[in-house]
Amino acid sequence: MMKTETSTAPAPAAFEPRITAFVCNWCTYAGADLAGTSRLQYASNMRIIKLPCTGRIDPLFVLKAFENGADAVLVSGCHPGDCHYTSGNYHARRRWTLFRKLLALTGIGDDRLFFSWVSAAEGQKFADLVNDVTAKVRKAGPFRAAHPGRRAS
């Protein structure tokens, strides 16, 4: 079993995490829109990169985000069975199952890399997700500058 303690000692309260989200256009992006139209308030730490489908997300995108200083990465798309492209999210799911194992082994744990299904109807879920992820990463502290995956600043 894998320990799930955080990558670093908790950081000062001032720390504001930078979180990069890769979301699909049809479900999660629309879910985020719904959170907006419903005026749900959530933490402002996340920056969304819109893609047509989670199937488009290459693991390199995630590594690049970390390399560029993201403290955490979120990948979110359509629920299984709801993919606008019928199976893009299934392909993504299989890929992430393997890739997260590799990242875990190399020191990027569940407090850095998050996955979720958020449908176009789940504005609330999206808002909660962002808050939850942000809180977790705040607790985890800055992604250690010394992690090999991060460009030395």
């Binding site: 079993m1 894998m2 320990k3 303690e5 955080t6 990558s7 670093t8 693991p59 390199l60 590594l63 690049k64 390399e67 299984p80 069975g81 199976s87 299934y90 392909h91 799911r93 299989r94 890929r95 992430w96 199952t97 393997l98 890739f99 997260r100 194992k101 590799l102 990242l103 875990a104 082994l105 190399t106 020191g107 990027i108 744990g109 569940d110 407090d111 850095r112 998050f114 996955f115 979720s116 299904w117 997700l129 250690r144 010394a146 992690h147 090999p148 995956g149 991060r150 460009r151 030395a152």
Partner: protein
């Protein structure tokens, strides 16, 4: 070994192949290319042969000389099967001179190799010791794991010997050589080394036959098999993936099943 040499010689004499790729008797067991029947006397095989000769099948110089034959212990047989599943090896273009320890098992094409593997080597797995090291690493905290790999990857000189040694790395233009955009920094520095080594391993997921050639080839002694073995286990446990047993197999990444696990997703 006599049997192996005779088989190789026969193939060349009967012009069934233009080249037999094997290991030479000399120290270090370098690869040996026998083009003439009389060369076959110099062929040898034993445990010290760490190179995966299937890697040559990706090289244009060899492709230009098909059909060829390879001296192939089980892991190499699997590589040949993987390559034919990925349409890198046309049927009949590659013959495997199957060997195991000091016995010669016969000459097989990819389909025959797969049958042999299913019949005789259906349970090839990473050495327990290796898996224990993986488990040991997972016992550590994320920070400790990061530190471990930082130390290891910092040694990487980006010579790409791991890639050259791997039959799975047959791309004519590797992702690391793509420069518009350049996803992986080519400087032998922290993050570039990290991304390269992680992606190299990931690109083998569901394809790696754990032959160990990459690690053996690494001049800096990076423990690359830790990454390969961890992925191999995950692929097996999650998706029942056993690369190199079915020349018709669909790629693990590039196929899916509705009941794949996603307990880690919300």
């Amino acid at each position: 070994m006599k049997a192996l040499r005779e088989a190789a010689e026969k193939l060349l004499r009967e012009k069934r192949v233009s080249l037999v790729i094997g290991y030479e008797g000399r120290k270090g067991r370098p690869a040996f290319f026998a083009a003439k029947p009389e060369d076959c006397g110099r062929l040898a095989y034993d445990a010290s042969c760490r190179q995966n000769l299937a890697a040559y099948l990706g090289k244009p110089e060899i492709r230009a000389r098909l059909p060829v034959a390879l001296v192939a212990p089980p892991a190499v047989l699997r590589s040949i099967v993987v390559m034919s599943a990925e349409s890198q090896v046309a049927p009949g273009q590659v013959l495997a001179l199957a060997v195991d320890g000091d016995s010669y098992l016969g000459t097989f094409d990819a389909a025959g190799a797969a049958e042999l593997l299913r019949a005789k080597y259906s349970t090839l797995a990473p050495e327990p010791a290796l898996l224990e090291r993986v488990q040991g690493l997972l016992q550590k905290s994320p920070a400790e794991r990061a530190a471990f790999w930082e130390a290891e990857f910092s040694k990487c000189t980006r010579c790409y010997a791991c890639r050259a040694a791997c039959p799975g790395c047959y791309c004519s233009r590797c992702i690391v050589e793509k420069n518009a955009p350049q996803w992986i920094s080519t400087a032998a520095l922290g993050h570039g080394n990290y991304t390269w080594n992680v992606m190299r391993a990931f690109h083998q997921s569901g394809r790696c036959t754990l032959c160990g050639a990459c690690e053996a080839a690494c001049p800096q002694g990076l423990p690359l098999m830790l990454l390969n073995a961890a992925l191999d286990r995950e692929a097996l446990e999650e998706f029942g993936s056993r690369p190199g047993y079915d020349p018709e197999a669909k790629p693990l990444i590039g196929s899916w099943s509705a009941d794949d696990d996603h307990s880690y997703m919300r």
